[in-house]
């Protein structure tokens, strides 16, 4: 096994990892702020992919239009579910919004299959051949993908940790009553959070759609690895989510010469397990106190 071969595997892993990372980014936001694992995130991603596809089609093939309409579409769905469902479940044990989010996921998928059927759709993107950079082969569209993931991370991170809005989001997550008494409108903060999470999901959907094919189950299938990445990188930590996604992607692909292709998704979980053995709260956790 040559070094170049492994290097290529690592690159493949990083690309897959970027997609997982985008999903994880959306998840970790909701998980960290609204305090529950949002199982509908996958289907919001699917909405993003379809909306992006529609937007591109309507604009006569403009990818930028696809990206925008994907993000807007997903953000709108995300907000709608906050407004009609999750808002009403604030303060309950995380299991309840989780179950509701599974319901939301079903509802979204039902709507998609009802109106659009099961046929696959494909973004209109010109196909380019890979470029060789030394031993590594890179496809330009994959670079857009990686750039998209990083940009989304930068925006989310800055928002969460460098703006008053982010501070308020974390305050609401931490102690909703105290936040109210401190003059923070949970509704406004949460609205912003769900919009951002939706937009990130939308971006994930469009990029995933461009990379693969647009199908009703595409987002749901991304959910599991994205959750793993979220946990790996510590819940609520955007940098962690992205690092977690990349780590899982790369570990999976690099393992293939040793465990084969059908066991590789198990490797993602193995990595998760090993990390959690050493750091039970994920890679980026701070200490908790018991007193």
């Amino acid at each position: 096994m040559s070094f170049g071969y492994l290097l290529n595997l690592a690159v493949n892993g990083a690309i897959e990892g970027s997609i997982i990372a985008l999903g994880a980014l959306a998840l970790t936001l909701v998980f960290g702020i609204a305090r529950f694992p949002n199982a509908s995130a996958g289907d919001v991603i699917t909405v993003g992919a379809y909306a992006g596809y529609g937007g591109q089609l309507a604009s006569g093939g403009l990818m930028a239009a696809g990206v925008v309409s994907g993000m807007v579409g997903a953000a709108a769905i995300s907000l709608a579910f906050y407004w009609f469902v999750f808002r009403k479940l604030a303060g309950r044990s995380a299991v309840y919004p989780l179950i509701a989010s599974i319901g939301a996921a079903f509802l979204i998928r039902a709507a998609i299959t009802f109106f659009l059927g099961h046929d696959q759709r494909v973004y209109d993107v010109p196909l380019t051949r890979a470029v060789a950079l030394g031993p590594v082969r890179v496809v330009p569209t994959d670079l857009y993908l990686a750039a998209g993931a990083l940009a989304a991370l930068a925006v989310v991170f800055a928002l969460l940790h460098m703006t008053p809005l982010g501070r308020r989001m974390r305050a609401v997550a931490d102690n909703p009553d105290l936040a109210r008494a401190s003059g923070i409108s949970a509704r406004r903060v949460m609205t912003a959070m769900w919009l951002i999470a939706g937009a990130v999901s939308g971006l994930a959907g469009v990029l995933l759609g461009v990379k693969t094919v647009v199908m009703p189950e595409m987002g749901w299938d991304l959910l599991l690895p994205a959750f793993a990445a979220t946990i790996l990188g510590t819940i609520g930590n955007p940098v962690g989510a992205v690092v977690g996604g990349l780590l899982i992607g790369v570990a999976q692909e690099l393992s293939t010469p040793f465990v084969g292709f059908t066991y590789k998704i198990g490797v993602g979980f193995l990595v998760l397990l090993l990390v959690l053995m050493v750091r039970p709260q994920g890679l980026f956790s701070g200490a908790e106190r018991v007193r």
């Binding site: 998980f31 694992p37 199982a39 469902v85 009403k88 479940l89 309950r92 044990s93 995380a94 299991v95 309840y96 919004p97 179950i99 509701a100 599974i102 319901g103 939301a104 996921a105 079903f106 509802l107 979204i108 998928r109 039902a110 709507a111 299959t113 009802f114 059927g117 099961h118 599991l224 959750f227 793993a228 979220t230 946990i231 819940i235 084969g260 059908t262 066991y263 998704i265 198990g266 993602g268 979980f269 998760l272 397990l273 959690l276 053995m277 039970p280 709260q281 994920g282 018991v290």
Partner: protein, 294 residues
């Protein structure tokens, strides 16, 4: 009609065994187990493999239960170290690992081709009745036994201790009890119920393939538990019946809603299930029987 209801009943009772196990995990102890289908699969495959090799069915069932319980042991050990949400994803990973193992280890499991021709209960035990009837009767007995066992346990000091774990395990530690030993036992016990359900399932469907053990089933069981009310023994039973009634009842929706094609019907059914989940959680959060916090 009876035959159909019996079949639905069998599925409901199999799910009920799983729900009882999950309720022990989450409802009473607060362990978030998202890999329940993994124990179910271990039970199903164990019994299936042994039975097609001619092992007497009661023994195969016993092995299924024991192996499912044993497979939960490492997760129990892990649960000592992990915070609750983290355990969730690890268990989910476990169930996927079980499925991957089944897919890949063909020498044992016949891989994706699955194992056909598993003897049914009436066949395997030589009972003079239809397979469905035999399975139904034995499942009723198994569920009654399971309910009795769980009822006994949750009313005992053991039960109080696991409920204390659900609320605050550090505090329990300070009182000289090892949450770990309780958690491990609970994990194994709940898994045993799922394993038993798996064995029944394998001999009822008479065919197992890895595709039957996807995480979606775990979610269904969660829904059943929440539907009935977590931390209530009666909740598991009621919740499962409601879930299965719901899933099956939607088959008859078509007779009520005219002019919808079958494909659209399927979408509609999924949508109705989704909507029902949402409404239930919003308007009846404690489930049908009320959960432990009410």
């Amino acid at each position: 009609m009876e035959g159909y209801l019996l079949a639905v009943g069998v599925i409901a009772l199999i799910y009920m065994l799983m729900t009882l196990g999950l309720n022990l995990h989450y409802g009473f102890t607060g362990l978030i187990n998202f890999g329940h289908v993994g124990f179910f699969a271990v039970g199903a495959y164990t019994s299936a493999i042994l039975a097609v090799h001619g092992v007497w069915l009661p023994l195969a069932f016993l092995a299924a239960v024991v192996l499912a319980a044993l497979s939960a042991w490492p997760l129990g050990v892990l649960s000592l170290r992990l915070r609750i949400e983290y355990l969730a994803i690890v268990t989910l990973g476990f169930s996927e690992a079980v499925r991957l193992f089944i897919v890949n280890e063909r020498w044992l499991t016949n891989g994706v081709q699955g194992i056909p021709g598993i003897p049914s209960l009436s066949e395997g035990l030589g009972l003079p009745m239809s397979a469905t009837t035999a399975t139904f009767i034995l499942l009723v007995l198994a569920n009654l036994a399971a309910i009795l066992v769980i009822h006994r346990i949750v009313k005992s000091p053991f039960g109080r201790a696991i409920e204390a774990i659900r609320d605050d395990e550090e505090a329990l530690r300070a009182l000289g009890k090892d949450p770990g030993s309780f958690k491990i036992r609970v994990f194994m016990l709940g898994a045993a119920f799922a394993g038993l359900g798996g064995a029944f399932y394998a001999h009822y469907i008479t065919f197992v393939t890895p595709d039957q053990f996807l995480p979606l089933l775990t979610f269904y069981i969660w829904v059943a538990m929440i539907l009935g009310g977590a931390g209530r023994v009666s909740g598991a039973a009621v919740g499962t019946l409601a879930l299965v009634g719901f899933l099956e009842g939607s088959r008859f929706l078509r007779d009520i809603v005219p002019g919808v094609a079958e494909v659209e019907m399927a979408s509609l059914r999924l949508g109705v299930v989704g909507l029902a989940l949402i409404l239930l959680v919003i308007y009846r959060p404690g489930g049908i029987m009320g959960d432990y916090s009410s």
